[in-house]
């Protein structure tokens, strides 16, 4: 997106880099601590919602690597997410019930799709990229929908969750340990994404967003950077899909349908693009609004949510987190 670059607040306001780092780690520890304690005290419904927020937040964050840092709006993240779900399902149904195998096959599935999408779609810019990713996700949707003997077709696949096994010790997942596991994966993924965006590689991505022609003129191979960016984004999206499979224990064509990609974009716009943490907040706001508004609007909660979404685009282009940071800096 054009407009002033949204720098992380830790860089913009800190008197020194060391103080900024301390503030970041303190904030990170507080947030993770609260999220770790929450499932113990929350009732089951809200606990499950919180776990789901983390999973969808990871999807939103993966999409932010493209939207916020490279300036490419992907409407194809449902393909990565869905193949993550189906990859995990394949591991659990066809092989053995192993947690790590499920995650690995989820990542593999998403990685293959991401390689395919990255190769073709990164030749295009702006809306052409958006439309191509959308069409790619529909290709995989049609394949999964029609290939009934393997994917279960419209009915999808159901399976059992594997035990939580670390270093050879396995216990069945409880809702609380599942939440902790998801939290650990999402927190690590966040740190990894943050490291990526602050690395020289991430800086090149940001310069592609700001001025692609100039980045190319300086001598960077823009296409290669974009391909790697899409691959990374797809892998994180596949990871969230695999986590989703662990939590809900079923895979359906709906997970590949582009509406999922649209929701990932909504999380980004609501929370704030180019912030990584913003999409997680956005997912939280979206799912909370869904629960809250469906009491008044039943299944039509998307009408008020859609209106709020449009209002945020018009009046808060940096999203909730970007807006909050700017207010704090003033």
């Amino acid at each position: 997106m054009s407009g002033p670059a949204i720098l992380p607040a830790t860089h913009a306001q800190a008197p020194s880099a060391a103080a900024g780092r301390r503030a970041f780690w303190a904030g990170f520890a507080v947030v993770v601590g609260v999220l770790a304690v929450a499932p113990v005290v929350l009732p089951p419904f809200w606990r499950a919602l919180l776990t789901e927020i983390l999973i969808w937040g990871l999807l939103g964050m993966s999409s932010d690597l493209l939207i916020g840092y490279t300036g490419m709006v992907s409407f194809g993240h449902s393909a990565f997410f869905g193949l993550g779900v189906y990859g995990a399902a394949a591991a659990l149904l066809a092989f053995r019930p192993s947690l790590w195998l499920a995650l690995a096959l989820g990542l593999l599935g998403a990685g293959i799709v991401a390689a395919c999408v990255a190769y073709f779609a990164t030749r295009l810019r702006d809306i052409y990229f958006s439309i191509t990713t959308l069409v790619f996700s529909q290709i995989f949707y049609v394949i999964i929908f029609a290939w009934t003997p393997v994917t279960g077709g419209e009915n999808g696949l159901t399976f059992h969750a594997p035990p939580l096994s670390v270093l050879g010790v396995g216990t069945p997942f409880t809702p609380v340990t599942l939440h902790w596991f998801v939290l650990a994966v999402v927190a690590l993924a966040y740190l990894l994404c943050r490291r990526i965006t602050q690395s020289p590689f991430g800086t090149v991505l940001k310069s592609i967003r700001e001025n692609e022609a100039r980045t190319r003129a300086i001598g960077y191979r823009v296409e290669r950077y974009k391909i790697v960016a899409v691959m990374l984004s797809g892998l994180f999206a596949g990871l969230s899909g695999a986590l989703y499979a662990l939590m809900n224990k079923f895979a359906a064509p709906d997970h590949v349908f582009w509406v999922v990609s649209g929701e990932a974009v909504i999380y980004n716009v609501m929370g704030g693009i180019g912030t990584l943490a913003g999409p997680i907040l956005g997912a939280g706001v979206f799912l909370f609004l869904r629960e809250f508004l469906s009491r008044f609007f039943t299944t039509y909660y998307l009408i008020p949510v859609g209106i709020i979404f449009i209002l945020i685009i018009i009046f808060l282009p940096q999203g909730l987190l970007g807006f909050a940071r700017r207010r704090l800096n003033e």
Binding site: L124, T132, V142, Y300, I303, G306, I314
Partner: protein, 292 residues
């Protein structure tokens, strides 16, 4: 082993393909008009198509006149499209084009859920306005399908004439070429944008009414058409009216011919493949002149 396809079956599928192509052409030319003039990718285009069909069925139930339903639906969607442009797209003028894509995505969510809320999830079937059929080889082919293709072609041709010949058409083309200069010449650019968005969405609405007797009306019909319209618009060259029509017929034909051998669900993949090949070989569109 590949079977030899009888000639009559081939001809019937070619006719089907051209007719489907003309219907998509009408939806896609509204989309490409809006993109060409405003740089807006209207994600909600399918929803205007769907709402047009609903308004059409409502008016048809009240008046029993198909032509009145077509006219009323076009008018209602024109006003709705204009109102949405003023409230959601006008404030975004001058921002990144992707912002308007996101805003119209929000609009599509609202409109789709509104239709579900207002009209319910049940598919509405309406009869073809004329029942006549003519014999074509071993089947009898409904005249209505021919009329739909003809009307779609006439509306697109009317749009082309409007853009080429009328004063307002000149205003619209001037705005496309240079927004600032057009404003300096006294053309009310914001009004032109609103009118063009209304016009483009009205074409989608009209097309929704025309296909309603063929496919039935439900709240997801927009989702089914929007991706195909996107493909047609990209293959035809974004903002290129003639290219969109050619691409629509081309893709309609390919899908119809493919469905001789595979199920229609798989036949959709053909148009996806066309899109990808187009993007690889000629990213600016298969039916558009090479940009200098």
């Amino acid at each position: 082993m590949a079977q030899i396809v009888p000639l009559d079956q081939l001809l019937i599928q070619i006719l089907n393909g051209v007719i489907n192509g003309m219907i998509i052409a009408l939806v896609a030319s509204g989309l490409t008009l809006i993109f060409g003039i405003m740089d807006v990718v209207n994600f909600a285009h399918g929803e205007f198509y769907m709402l047009g069909a609903y308004v059409g069925t409502t008016v048809l139930a009240l008046t029993h006149s198909f032509w009145l339903a077509l006219l009323a639906a076009s008018l209602v969607i024109f006003i709705l499209g204009g109102a949405i442009q003023v409230t959601t797209l006008r404030p975004l003028l001058g921002r990144d084009p992707l912002t308007s894509l996101l805003a119209t995505f929000g609009v599509s969510l609202v409109l789709q859920q509104y239709a579900l809320w207002q009209y319910g999830p049940v598919t509405r079937q309406i009869g073809e306005p004329f029942k006549g059929q003519f014999p074509l080889f071993y089947i009898s082919y409904p005249w209505y399908r021919i009329v739909v293709a003809g009307l779609s072609g006439a509306i697109v041709a009317g749009l082309w004439l409007f853009l080429k010949r009328s004063t307002y058409g000149i205003w619209i083309r001037a705005t496309t070429q240079d927004r600032v200069m057009a404003a300096a010449m006294g053309i009310p650019v914001p009004m032109v944008h609103t009118a063009v968005f209304g016009l483009g969405t009205a074409m989608a609405g009209a097309s929704g009414v025309l296909v309603a007797p063929l496919v039935g009306v439900d709240f997801t019909m927009g989702l089914q058409v929007i991706i195909r319209a996107f493909i047609v618009v990209v293959v035809g060259g974004m903002g290129n009216l003639g290219g969109s029509v050619a691409a629509a017929i081309f893709i309609g034909l390919l899908e119809a011919l493919a469905s001789i051998w595979v199920s229609p669900v798989i036949a959709v993949l053909v148009s996806f493949a066309v899109l990808i090949l187009t993007l690889l070989v000629r990213p600016h569109g298969l039916f558009a002149p090479t940009p200098r």
